[in-house]
Symmetry: D2
Subunit: 379 residues, 4 copies
């Protein structure tokens, strides 16, 4: 079978995430980078194209030209990957959808619920697939966690604790260097939230996809640390999940000693599960009155689906690139199904539905903070 | 020098904490168990006395007789240890103070702020020492944490995360056995709070003594898990500490996979510190832009005070008994100072001041919950 | 710049290592799979070609045809990757070298020292580059370890402890399934050694590249576990390294509880370093009289070379695929240098020199065992 | 029941081990320190007596006077604890045995096999109990390991890996301070071996008591690091255990980054077990084809005997003092049985039999080294 063709918006220069998307999308030979608009800077755009062996004729100056020309070609791209700052997600995604092209977009998928909902509506109307690349939920052990919860291995969920501490903002300040990704703190570009939108939303998605429960309401305390930051860098909140399950969530960009340590702990009445990105191939599992146990990737004792997600025999670490690969394996499966090129079953991965829910979560947090730390429904 | 003499109220039978107090108080040969009222059950009382080699003539049927007779003896006890259920702390402590005897009492020191404040007042008026045996703050690495924070090693504190997950309640329910320490869930005996009073208060004390900051207000969500529990078993709260520092605190008795895993993480702008009871001889320390480092007990690179707290050369684990020993070393020092038997400097340890603050914390949490999860000052 | 072109021998079907080579070689867009002989089975050969998008005209029935045709083409492959069972490495490598094609070969590079030395000689004579894909030495933290030792951070090396425990053989036996990679226990195919040749040689290479010291003599105890295994599955040995440094090495295929847990500990008189594949992005470093410290990938406190090996910002795990990528980045650099296409400096990676040393190590171990566990020089 | 009475030889001043013995022997109220000869220095002797509340009349200038006077008293000591340098163990132990007093002695129990065997013979002839205080084997999880092996939980033992790395010698050298315990490197006082006798023998005992297997022969490489040390500080050896099981053992006093990290790994064909003193309350257990599991002290899933060894509910760390307490609980049980004061069953703990085996191990290692690293039977 011919591989799918995809285009990439953004990703040139130091933006490492562009290359991660490209690798992920190509990892299983299901798709190949065929077109792009990698940078608004013509030289960077050209350099990226050369480095990635994209034919010059399919390197575009802007996304509008790209959507128009690619949708007009016989061999035009099947999907586009959007890896640009947050405020551009909405117009770009909309334009490609309107030109009949499937979309994979970085999170947060937009800068408002309204935008996100509109994208969802358009994708539905056009019967196009819209994936959102929340990374962490694509590790096999997160799927194993979900499978075990659904299989009743921990009984009824009692409480959920989730966090994403990282240290890059405080480290950058200390080094006195200009901050990488400074646009994240420019509300006009990154949106009205920093810690919540950039990493809190990863946690919300992890809770949802790791447990099957949704964050139904939040009571959030958003703090700017240091005090002169333009947006919050530290988000601490109480949550109520589906069925009234209480929980807590913490996201911080000023937590020295933590790199990208997103984690999820789920406590039930028959057992508990715990996953942390620091060691993503391990899943702590404890049965009630039993000893701590650590499940590891690709082992015969895993559920079949999560086991099959590993590309390598057990003991061979897979990491961030491969998590993206897992996302794109599932995303491409959906595109192939849409194009009637496969009848293999769908694979779970984050989509525009998760993207919309993520924006609702962000807005509820902001509202809870504005109104003096009160409960706000996520809706 | 002759050792101090002490009496013990409670501690017979299966109540392991009595023996922990006794060992702790005798560990450094500063004091010797000389009298007691170990149980209301005469046989258990006698058995404990025999096991612990306490002279029959100084084993009492009730604390009233004990306080009266011991205070009348030339060789009467210098201090009493109270290791009974919460609701009896107040009358017993009061009676001994009124008979001129120093007091060491289990936490929570009373079942209301009013009681605790009265005890504090009496102790002050009588110039008697009143220690409260919060255990965890007596590990050397908690003192090291405090010393480093005071020495500026982590700069200005930005946020604090603390928790005490344990699993004994949910494990007991699963085993279908009668719950050990069932009195903790009888409000008439244990007080109006379970998770908050029994373990949340440990966390509050750890925050205070580990960082020097106080919990100034709380916004708490107390949940009964399972729903038919008479008191909360799960406490999740947002906090504001001295100087406006935001934080979170979690205490749970239904967290499968955790034994007595109280922990404290303190994040500053120049570094971070983290201590967990699972491995109490280690302290994680990370400087801004530096690597993770683990300080261990009794090493030459520690501050002098915390280093001297270890009884053994490095590499030889000390645990819960020795933490109690550290508390009693400091407590006895204070009694000796009060009796002018030493002019050695005082050693930091939890006292009635911490006991009062603990009750204020509990009552603020209960009030926050009653009023619908709003901010309540701890005062 | 045009990417290099490479061919692959082996790798079809379940042989995961073929795909690892392919991904590694393509990871940094320096080379592209252009030809191959992926299996002796025509159908598997064709299937692999299709999956990997290799033009049918460059898929060959055997390596001889492939070497001849590719070397005759204008656009023939620049290098070949050999991922076949051990006994075929020598003839295949030799044939490609003789046709002027650079070689990257799996370890062990041959089944005897004589074969390996001949390959080395041919490569030298032809001025062709010959890489050997020992994986583990290509993780950034192994390079960091070497850089720190060379920089004097741990002083004079006192002793070295290294091991590679894994459990797949005993697990396979327990499952009662036919053993994957059964050829490893067929001396006619895998060579005269199993545990030593398959994984002991990884440890030897890790010692050499991680410390700069060589294993100069061994005193080995090779055991067949279970006793009816045709070759040893457990190798335990005393070693003397350069300068008389004593050490120990263990390699086992029957160590339940370990997946691919190769590790190296190096003790000096001013510090110690420790790396383990279970958590390959961490390097334990302890200065004399100092605390344990954990260095992590991509951080500003690393040496420049090892820091630059990471493709992602810190906190984003890279694993086995990326270690292969690192190997091929260095290998391709060497091919580009040979072709005068770059003047960038060479990058350290395992080559035929390491391959020869590996065979000498294996043969010394076998000889030590045959002669009753006596010291044998590795030469 | 009246507690047993015991005397202590040695232990004054900085010798921390004296206090550890005293605490251990008194921990369960089975015995009380009643006499002693704590130092050859009269002032130190007196100071220790005062600190430990021993009656002046039972503090002796030398062990001869002590043995004679105590054995003549109606209320004389039931047993003596010997905590002096190695070369004095033999004469002291012999003298007390000859005066009818049970003995608990530090390891190694003597400086030669001949001495140790003579002590064993005398103890047997006199029907006196002779315990040897190897500490580490008295942790509950070592007993759990043994119970599981005997219960067949890991099947047939395939190989054993054991080590004791510590760093105090190299750290002392680096600090340039006079070495604590310098007598350990004076052959006239400490015996002909340092690393092997001081810590290697702990490992040998741990293997024996943890697995039930004996070290039957050794092939040892003993090295002096730094080269000018008078005795070996690093011992690396191959071993054959009962039934031909191969193993390795490492003991080092120059291993920076390790404090008292004695550990034992036992690999069977149905599972594996691993214990390390760094976290003595945990036992790693992996079934064949199963996940890693960590058993912890005092839990309901443990074997009954090991579970009952903990004094505290699970989650409350017990350490080195309590391990000594466990030894003395078992030792006193034996003394009580000898005195017909109890008919409770004997408890496993190290005795003169282990002491003799330890000396045989040391001498075999020294002989293997002298004869050029050849196999020597331990007999």
């Amino acid at each position: 079978m011919e591989p799918l063709r995809f285009g990439l918006i953004g990703g040139a220069g130091n933006a490492f995430i562009g290359d991660v998307h490209r690798h992920g999308a190509q990892m299983d030979d299901l798709a190949i980078l065929s077109a792009g608009c990698f940078s608004r800077d013509p030289e960077k755009n050209r350099d990226a194209a050369r480095k990635w062996h994209v034919d010059e004729s399919r390197v575009y100056a802007d996304y509008i030209e790209m959507a128009e020309k690619e949708s007009a070609r016989q061999d035009g791209i099947d999907f586009v990957i959007i890896a640009t700052p947050n405020n551009t997600h909405y117009p770009i995604a909309k334009y490609f959808l309107e030109h009949g092209i499937h979309v994979s977009c970085d999170k947060p998928v937009a800068v408002s619920v309204a935008e996100a909902e509109e994208l969802q509506q358009i994708a539905n109307q056009c019967s196009l697939h819209f994936g959102v690349s929340y990374t962490y939920v694509n590790y096999p052990m997160v799927h194993q966690m979900r499978a075990m919860i659904e299989g009743g291995e921990i009984g009824r969920v009692l409480t959920v604790m989730a966090e994403y501490p990282q240290d890059w903002v405080i480290n950058s300040i200390d080094r006195g260097e200009p901050m990488q990704d400074a646009w994240r703190f420019n509300p006009a570009v990154g949106g009205k939230s920093a810690a919540t939108g950039d990493i809190g939303t990863h946690v919300e998605c992890l809770i949802h996809m790791g447990t099957g429960l949704s964050v139904e309401r939040v009571l959030a305390n958003l703090t700017r640390i240091p005090a002169d930051m333009p947006l919050e860098t530290n988000t601490q909140l109480l949550a109520t999940l589906t069925g009234g399950v209480p929980g807590m969530l913490w996201a911080s960009q000023v937590a020295i000693g933590y790199e990208c340590s997103i984690s999820l702990r789920v406590f039930g009445d028959k057992g508990a599960l715990e996953w942390c990105h620091d060691n993503p191939s391990r899943l702590k599992y404890t049965r009630v009155n039993g000893p701590e146990t650590y499940l590891t990737c690709a082992r015969s004792f895993l559920e079949e689906g999560p086991r099959a997600m590993s590309r390598l025999p057990y003991g061979h670490p897979e990491g961030f690139f491969e998590a993206f690969g897992n996302y794109y394996r599932a995303f491409c499966r959906e595109v192939l199904r849409a194009k009637k090129l496969t009848d293999a079953p769908a694979l779970v991965h984050p989509t525009i539905e998760d993207g919309v829910r993520g924006l609702r979560f962000i807005e509820a947090c902001l509202k809870s903070q504005e109104q003096g730390n009160i409960w706000i429904s996520v809706q």
